[in-house]
Amino acid sequence: MFYRENGQFKTTYRADQQIFAIRQDRIAMALILAALFVVVPMFASDYFFRAILIPLVIMSMAALGVNILVGYCGQISLGSGAFMAVGAYGAWNFYTRFQGMPLVPAVILGGLCAMFFGILFGLPSLRVRGLYLAVATLAAQFFADWMFLRVKWFTNYSPSGSVSVNHLQVFGYPLDSALSRYLFCLALLVVVALLAKNLVRSAIGREWMAIRDMDVAAAVIGIRPMYAKLSAFAVSSFIIGMAGALWAFIHLSAWEPAAFSVEVSFRLLFMVIIGGLGSIMGSFLGAGFIVVLPIFLNQFLPWLFGLFGLSISTAGVAHTELMIFGALIVWFLIVEPHGLAKLWSTAKQKLRIWPFPH
């Protein structure tokens, strides 16, 4: 009824190629952005910023990066945690070794480090495919874990191997309050998301998807698998690396390699698959799901049990949380194997023809 494209005619290809071709979508997007930048800061508490919003925004960025590789280019990767780690340690080394290096360039340089690392570990993808590649990317993960633990240079010979940053500033403004950190990450995310969206709807994005869907045919129409795959690895690990730098600098402030363990890689893969492979929007939904759900369950379950006059032990909550988390993942996959984003677009499609069922 309200969600219709009737009457909106596109007279130019340019108009048709907009990211949000339907007016209602554009309005919705503007509203969401306004909400994120203006309304949320008015209401969110410090805890909400630090424990939920900031991780959510940063993980969204990482998931976006993973989605480019896994969702768009079809190269399943379990090494994302490693790319984050390289981004984080790379940025840290630039930040501490060069006096006066500002934050944003450090983050970008961290992204570039991750990019080179990504390209290096992307090389096997030219020969190894599918699940074999997925498992092989774990090599990157464990190698990075080892490297940052063992090669002392990367941690500037800190005896424990743990490093930290403080007094962050952006363009002279200190990033101390949770709000400023949130806005900083959000602004970066918006920029990255826009650039990523542009990429995936351009020629390079089509190359990635072509490689994903049918690589022999792609080669026949002149797409070089090597270029497509490595560029996907590069772009993806660049974004993941930046997210890693943010995660370390903004969210953790002090970290050790375990902060980017294989568990993180799995979680990122979860995000993109639950969210929707090959969908920018899906990355965000998936990140939301995976970041928020455990925290929510952790706080909601005792309350729920309390309702029935039961008290539940901490361990009980933790175990129930695991079970519900696992069950929900399976349930969502069954309801819509193509992820939350697909669920979302199906809902939109229904809305479009509403009130008629078909």
Binding site: R50, L149, H251, S253, A258, T314
Partner: protein
């Protein structure tokens, strides 16, 4: 505002659960005991909330963010070295003291540099130092260590790496050879580590492990025929879960004992009467008085005493702010009598903190597993200030310089 809130991080699931559970139970039970037996601290009852984080740093940080602004919050016990590292800076801005008993940042003993960190009773540096002293004593003099070879088998994480500088320092001093053997967390596969041990045949093995790594190490030692009585563990590798299911296989294994333990101590008896006796016990009755359980109790006792000390200055019967608790923590003075009164006789030694010394005491003993239980406690060792003080100061200075921070003024200590 009538209650003092104690946030409790815990890990009752995941790879480190076997050790995390008794520890967490001890921490809870002591709070219950004080509330039940004494009616709180000068009448101020304590409330608590547990937050499960599964030994994952980021979830621990989330717990911190969630609980730090609860009304009446006193301090924070990060419960893992990783979380301690992550919180050290945040605590600085949030002005919340961190109690890290027997773990965390070794250089944080320097209270002038780390206002908010309290590695009570000892850090990994003091632990490593004491172990070397113990070896020296067994051999009949530290000079006998010359030419010996010690292998450090350690958990490959900040926790495991902390003792290395002290070990290296001591190796230089006494001329023993140090072999470093990292074990990838969580440490379930150590065959090659122990093959290397077999190859290089070190005279002693120091085991810096946590959780499943400890029992695996001892089992592999058995499987490769390395004498268990040549293995010495840190205090996180010297509790019941580490050896219980190996039984005789670990006979002769020794480890640091940060604290005394046992059900016959007064505090354990009190807990059995006032807490378990009223059906309020957190875990299994048999677990009361076990090594890690007792450690949890100690942490909570020190918390309570710090609050009590603070109340003495800022007003008895009032709920203390974190900043007031911080003052209490660095002005703690637990004499032998006081400890006895509290029921901790034989569990820990007297400790006194100051603005500059956040550790309070570095006393530690060594105990041995006889196949059924821990026992055969050695004398107390103190870390050698000649070795450590300079290292701590240098380390803290380097940290401050890197962070662009300043040492506290002496004036800051008064308040």
């Amino acid at each position: 505002q009538t209650e003092q809130f104690i946030p409790l991080l815990s890990y009752r699931t995941g790879p480190y659960a076997p050790n995390g559970i008794p520890w967490a139970n001890g921490k809870q039970d002591y709070i219950k005991l004080v509330n039940e037996r004494d009616g709180g601290i000068n009448g101020v009852k304590m409330s608590f909330e547990e937050c499960e984080f599964g030994y994952a740093t980021d979830r621990g940080v989330e717990c911190y963010e969630r609980l730090k602004s609860r009304p009446g919050v006193a301090l924070f016990d990060p419960q893992s070295t990783g979380v301690t590292f992550a919180l050290t800076e945040k605590a600085n801005t949030d002005k919340i003291p961190l109690i890290t008993l027997g773990y965390g940042l070794s250089i944080a003993a320097d209270g002038m540099a780390f206002k908010w960190n309290f590695p009570y009773l000892g850090s990994y540096w003091t632990g490593a130092d004491a172990l070397v002293q113990h070896l020296g004593k067994e051999l009949g003099g530290l000079d006998k260590l010359k030419g010996k070879k010690i292998a450090l088998v350690y958990h490959d994480s900040p926790f495991g790496k902390e003792p290395i500088p002290v070990m290296q320092e001591r190796a230089k001093m006494h001329g023993f050879e140090l072999q470093l053997l990292p074990v990838t967390a969580p440490g379930v596969e150590q065959k090659s580590t122990w093959l290397q041990v077999r190859q290089s045949r070190p005279d002693y093995v120091f085991l810096w492990g946590w959780g499943v790594m400890n029992s695996t190490a001892l089992k592999e030692a058995q499987a490769t025929g390395y004498a268990r009585n040549k293995i010495y563990g840190v205090w996180w590798a010297g509790a019941e879960p580490d050896v219980r299911d190996i039984g005789d296989g670990a006979k002769g294994y020794k480890a640091l004992a940060l604290n005394g333990y046992g059900q016959d101590t007064k505090v354990a008896q009190d807990i059995l009467t006032y807490v378990h006796g009223k059906g309020q016990g957190t875990g299994d009755k048999n677990e009361v008085g076990s090594v890690l359980y007792t450690r949890g109790v100690i942490i909570q006792m020190l918390t309570v005493e710090a609050i009590r000390t603070a109340q003495e200055k800022f007003g008895k019967g009032k709920v203390m702010t974190p900043e007031q608790v911080q003052w209490g923590m660095e002005n703690l003075n637990l004499t032998a009598e006081r400890l006895k009164e509290l029921g901790f006789d034989g569990i820990i030694r007297p400790l006194q903190t100051t603005c500059a010394n956040h550790m309070g005491s570095t006393s530690v003993r060594v105990h041995e597993w006889d196949g059924k239980q821990w026992g055969n406690l050695s004398d107390w060792y103190e870390a050698d200030p000649a070795v450590l003080d300079k290292m701590i100061k240098d380390g803290a200075d380097k940290y401050l310089a890197e962070k662009n921070l300043k040492r506290r003024e002496q004036a800051d200590c008064g308040a």
